[in-house]
Amino acid sequence: MKLMTKALMIVAALALAACNNPRAGGGWDSNGADGWNGGGAGGIQTGALGDPNDPRSIAHFNERIGDRVFFETDQSTLTDTARQTLSAQARWLSANPQFAILIEGHADERGTREYNVALGARRANAVMQYLVSQGINANRMRTVSYGKERPVEACPEARCWNLNRRAVTVVSTGLTG
């Protein structure tokens, strides 16, 4: 076969695209995750957390009230459990008006990066609107979306994704950024 003929065949092959040709992929091993699990994902300088037994401490808010709520896949609707947590958050935030509030929206890894940023924004806003409805001044609050960039659990399973689809209410003595 002459080169030109072969060339034409390559052209033809390029032009002919086979239907549905999914391929399984390889990859390499995970380098492991160290299980770091902070409250805020960034942007906030937080002071001493204090003793969780002190009802006015940030530690009390994070551990006893609960600093986060969880969402169903692709959803930003607040579950009954989430509403209960947020109502308790609102009571605490009303009683402790000196704290600034950052609401972080997060998504699990089962979506595209851009969509997850938008989804996290929607989740953070749902929490903020609920807190506003409970009497918290919107001026105290700021929202940010981390999309899927800051999971708390890295395992490729539903039990981890369930924990990553969250909005975290980060309280601090002052906002930065």
Binding site: K2, L3, M4, T5, K6, A7, L8, M9, I10, V11, A12, A13, L14, A17, A18, N20, N21, P22, R23, G25, G26, G27, D29, S30, N31, G32, A33, D34, G35, N37, G38, G42, G43, D74, S76, E109, R110, G111, T112, R113, E114, Y115, V117, A118, L119, A121, R122, N125, Q129, V144, S145, Y146, E149, R150, P151, A154, C155, P156, T176, G177
Partner: protein
């Protein structure tokens, strides 16, 4: 053979993109015609398409070490042919016949080709070349031969530039060979900007990086202190748009690669901005802005700062991409309840849904040829890279894995690069032909994501 010195410079090659790369590539000069070939069109009989079991047999070719025309050129003679061989072999369309099997030796660039010797080892194409070096300047020339019909294919070409740019010259030779044999534009002399990842997943360090399309010459553009995602090349390859969490909230930055200077663009207090992409003329960007839980698309004129809101819906509109003529925009929206793909005029207006298959669709990217849209699809727990026509017809899935996302087109619209993450594994860059063949991992120094292909370099 006589060499005709062609009087005109052919393609001015712009100087290095990186000032930081002090090498200043400066491939100033030229593609020079070496020969007026007698018969470039070796048409031989009627067009025949033979596809055996749906897989084409790669074309066997030989690319002996380039002839060093002076002693300073010796160190490049084998390196040039190795880069060319890797480029062509990596397409899956060509298969190299190793030098150990060669009968003929190329010792002079202008000596007649011994076709019988190359036929004897079943080579169908032969690339010969020569290199000479003066100081930090080098000259590389090549010829392509059709061994089967026993004639040169196209004219010889010469490239001149800095020795720092030796790989680029090999890429330019590869592009010319690929182009002549396939009839398609090349894509080897191009770069990829991506996100280099390190550290634990829960507190990932992400840095912007840029490299040649084959993974060589990696350069880091940010230091990793701020989370960065989804960089995009400008149409002239000189600027990058990306999203950074530097101030704690996602904002879009515009970076000039030559100076490494950057500025915030499209920012508005109290909002989040992300998913930027240049218009085909480079004069504006389209992006997402989130406020009050709603994410809409905006267009910003990068010269005068004029802003235009393109969508206004209580839902998510993101991942926009222009058509190559700049008249339309394809994007992802969940206004129907799940993420689907839509096309609308580039200045806003009615959006028409184009994806109707099962599952969720996202990150649509218009092909540089204008004929196809590449996308991410998730369905039943699997993620795919696929392509469809711009009216949504002829959807084809090219890949499947635990997580494939974020396609980017090679400059010739024939190859797609994307991010692949295996379950529990790190992300890496992969490429696949739009035929669905030739799935390959692109080498990177570590975990990598969010590739964006540059245009072909000038």
């Amino acid at each position: 053979m006589s060499i005709l010195a062609h009087p005109a410079p052919f393609r001015p090659v712009r100087a290095a993109l990186f000032a930081a790369l002090a090498c200043a590539l400066g491939m100033l000069a030229t593609l020079a015609l070496l020969l007026t070939a007698s018969a470039a069109q070796a048409q031989s009989g009627p067009l025949r398409i033979e596809i055996t079991e749906g897989v084409i047999e790669p074309m066997p070719f030989a690319v002996p070490a380039f002839v060093a025309e002076n002693s300073a050129g010796q160190q490049y003679s084998d390196q040039l042919s190795r880069v060319i061989s890797a480029n062509l072999s990596n397409t899956g369309l060509f298969r190299e016949i190793p030098a150990s099997a060669h009968i003929a030796r190329i010792t002079s660039f202008d000596a007649p080709v011994q076709y019988a010797d190359w036929r004897a080892i079943n080579a169908q194409a032969l690339i010969t070349g020569a290199v000479s070096v003066q100081g930090n300047r080098m000259s590389v020339k090549f010829r392509l031969f059709d061994i089967v019909s026993g004639r040169q294919m196209g004219d010889g070409l010469q490239f001149q530039g800095s020795t720092d740019a030796w790989r680029r010259m090999a890429h330019k030779v590869s592009d010319a060979v690929y182009s002549r044999i396939t009839g398609e534009g090349g894509y080897f002399d191009s770069r990829v900007v991506f996100v280099a990842e390190s550290g634990p997943r829960e507190n990932r360090v992400k840095r912007l990086a840029v490299m040649d399309q084959d993974g060589a010459n990696v350069e880091y553009l940010t230091d990793g202190r701020a989370l960065v995602i989804a960089p995009r090349f400008s149409p002239n390859g000189e600027r990058i748009l990306y999203t950074s969490y530097e101030t704690g909230t996602p904002r879009i930055y515009l970076m000039d690669l030559a100076t490494m200077r950057r500025q915030v663009v499209g920012d508005q207090p109290g909002t989040m901005t992300f998913a930027p992409r240049f218009s085909p003329d480079g004069g504006s960007m389209i992006y997402s802005l989130s406020v009050g839980g709603t994410t809409d698309l905006y267009r910003l004129n990068l010269s005068n700062g004029q802003r235009l809101q393109l969508t206004n819906a209580p839902s998510i509109a993101t991942a926009p991409s222009f058509s190559p003529d700049g008249s339309r925009v394809v994007f992802e929206s969940d206004r129907s309840g799940t993420s689907q793909l839509y096309i609308m005029p580039a200045n806003g207006g009615e959006a028409r849904r184009i994806s109707f298959g099962q599952g969720r669709y996202g990150t649509p990217v218009w092909s540089p040829r204008g004929d196809l849209i590449a996308f991410t699809k998730s369905h039943q727990g699997r993620f795919h890279i696929g392509v469809m026509r711009t009216d949504g017809s002829e959807e084809r899935l090219l890949t499947a894995s635990f997580l494939d996302e974020g396609p980017t087109w090679a400059p010739n619209g024939r190859v797609i690069m994307f991010t692949r993450e295996t379950a529990g594994g790190d992300p890496a860059l992969w490429s696949v032909d739009i035929s669905g063949r030739n799935l390959r991992r692109i080498p990177t120094p570590g975990p990598a994501s969010d590739p964006a292909w540059s245009p072909l370099r000038p």
